[in-house]
Amino acid sequence: MPNLEPIRPSFHLEVLSSSQLEAIRTATLDVLKTIGICFPSERALAVFAEHGADVDFQNQIVKLPSDLVTQAMEQAPRSYTLGARHEDADLFLDGEASYLATDGCGVETLDFDTRERRPSRKDDVAKMARVADFLTSVSFYWPMVSAQDYGRTAPLHELDASFNSTLKHVQTETVMGRKPAEYAVRMGEVLADSREAMRERPPFSVLICTIAPLAQDKEGIEAGMVYAEAGIPVGFMAMPNMGSTAPATPGGALVIGNAEVVSAMVLMQLVAPGAPVFHSILASVMDPHTAEYIVSIPQKYLCNAAAVQLAHDWGVPTLAGAFGMDAKEPGTYKQGRDNAYTSLLVPLAGADLITGSGLLEASTLLVPEQIILDDEVYHTNRVLLEGIDTAAKSLALDVIFDVGPKGHFLAQDHTRRHLRDIWIPELTHPRPAGVGPSDGGMHQRAQAKLTRILADHQPEALPGAAREELQAILVAAAEELA
């Protein structure tokens, strides 16, 4: 049975005041109404036109009256379930917990054995799914790298490797296009047993990227409609880059991102009223000289936390960004600093879903042991956000009375019991019989722990019939999509 330890914050941070939220909402509605969003999909344009939006078919621009936006968004559920292969690993998005995913979708892997950089492949997706299945920090699995050994059907093979290797919920961010989405839905039905059961506990969900500024991806949006109709939760992620694809101000980036995400969520509600959707903005800053993304920067951290508030302002769950920073190697000061900031701020802001641990170089490189290092940062935050218990038992007056001045608490039964409740980070404070060389560094211990998980942890296999059905779907997909 998979073991999950979501973060349940006892206190929160609000980056935006209610008047600031209102200002962003007003600006967003203004953008949607007067500038519009590019939807390069005939089907999407037709749906919008049918519902009274102002559609320019020639230029594929949709302008949305504010009433249409708010009425559509009112249909989107605030709470719903992301199903897992094992019911105990279902995730209920009710605003009480923050669930972390792995990061994705990298294109290179630092090989598990040779430690050489190479193109990623399906087996990497499966191996890391087993690791994610083991780690309590990971509540749901993003295929971490691209199954590049499977060409055009790589995204479906990433799903297959994930379904086969973890009991946890899976979220894809690569299966795009109407046809591939239909195959993915069929794969979901195999996992869930039926389409009805899949609506109740969808075994996978989807994240679709918008295109900044103010545009949608044809393949993404057409896949989104297929998923929404099938009851598969669909999220949209805007990635405004301050300076290049967005104004060089956090406020402007949030308005642009919000408009992109909301317009897509509105479409989902028009196609399938009540469809589970989620909101996501992952901002960054353009390096003023190289134009590369700078993801480890305060403006980004602020936007990530503010985006959580924007999502909740629209009455939908959010997927917030953490980890996956631009460091080039694991275990560095930079990596630790960046991951700590991002991964603390978003649960503090009340993020429902968080992505994701385990990748480096701005989410393009899989260094297998990074997920173990991130696991420790995650648990630090989890404990931190539990806050302080001030119940009588915790204030421990009777014990303090017993010990009195100048004594010690080592021999107290209270100490014996409660010291066990304190989570001790094992990479920085190795236990006597812990993993890896106690005299080595935390990086070595992380590698040793990874090796042990890969050797020991084998999640319950999918039933043979389900495995065969998935295989048959992949074969059919390969024939049709080739």
Partner: protein, 216 residues
């Protein structure tokens, strides 16, 4: 007198004032100045200065882009006059840049174009979502010796290979150097598809382009 207006022209590029650059270029022609001198002593001097300021870290990308924009606007006035007089501007090479079919990412390719312009290349930007056939056609029309194909998605990277194949099929592969770039593109991918080079950002793209055309 002409020296003064050349300096002013250079300054519009350094400061980044496209409208002013266009106006000055027109004034130059009205005064009967040689368009080639206007380019070499004015615009080129200006864009070199922009390049220096960028290299030293003082200028940011928007400064560079708006500076190049000013140069382009002025060239729009001066180049037709140059052609009429049977002259040509001296360039390091003729580059055709585009983003591959199915891919709408514009910025990386545009930055490479700006950097190449600032470093003395003649650049034809054919936009985004460009088919392999259109790359070949644009290369022929521009008499290009350098092609840049950008892909930002793992799903569109394969188009880079298709472009290279299409140049081969058209019998033009030997006449152009093809460089590729984009976030998912790696050196090993460039080698695999038979590109002449790969650059990870716009700055290294300039060095690569110069190397490919044999420029100093």
């Amino acid at each position: 007198m002409s020296e003064e207006i050349y300096n002013e022209l250079a300054q519009t590029v350094v400061v980044g004032e496209p409208e002013q650059a266009e106006k000055l270029a027109q004034q130059c022609l009205e005064q009967g100045l040689d368009p080639l001198d206007c380019i070499n002593s004015g615009l080129t001097k200006g864009i070199r200065r922009v390049g220096e300021l960028f290299a030293s870290g003082e200028y940011f990308l928007p400064d560079l882009i708006i500076g190049a924009e000013a140069m382009k606007t002025a060239l729009g006035v001066l180049e037709p006059a140059l052609t009429e007089g049977g002259q040509g501007r001296e360039v390091l090479g003729h580059a055709v840049l585009g983003t591959v079919e199915g891919d709408l990412h514009d910025i990386g390719k545009t930055l490479v174009g700006t950097m190449l312009t600032a470093n003395g290349f003649d650049v034809t930007d054919i936009g985004t979502d460009v088919s392999a056939a259109d790359f070949v056609q644009a290369a022929q029309e521009a008499n290009a010796n350098l092609i840049g194909a950008s892909a930002l998605l793992t799903t569109t990277m394969s188009e880079q290979q298709k472009i290279i194949e299409t140049f081969k099929e058209a019998g033009l592969r030997d006449q152009v150097k093809i460089m590729i770039g984009g976030a998912p593109v790696t050196k090993s991918w460039a080698e695999k598809v038979g590109a002449d080079g790969f650059a990870k950002d716009a700055i290294s793209a300039v060095a690569l382009a110069k190397r490919l055309v044999g420029a100093p």
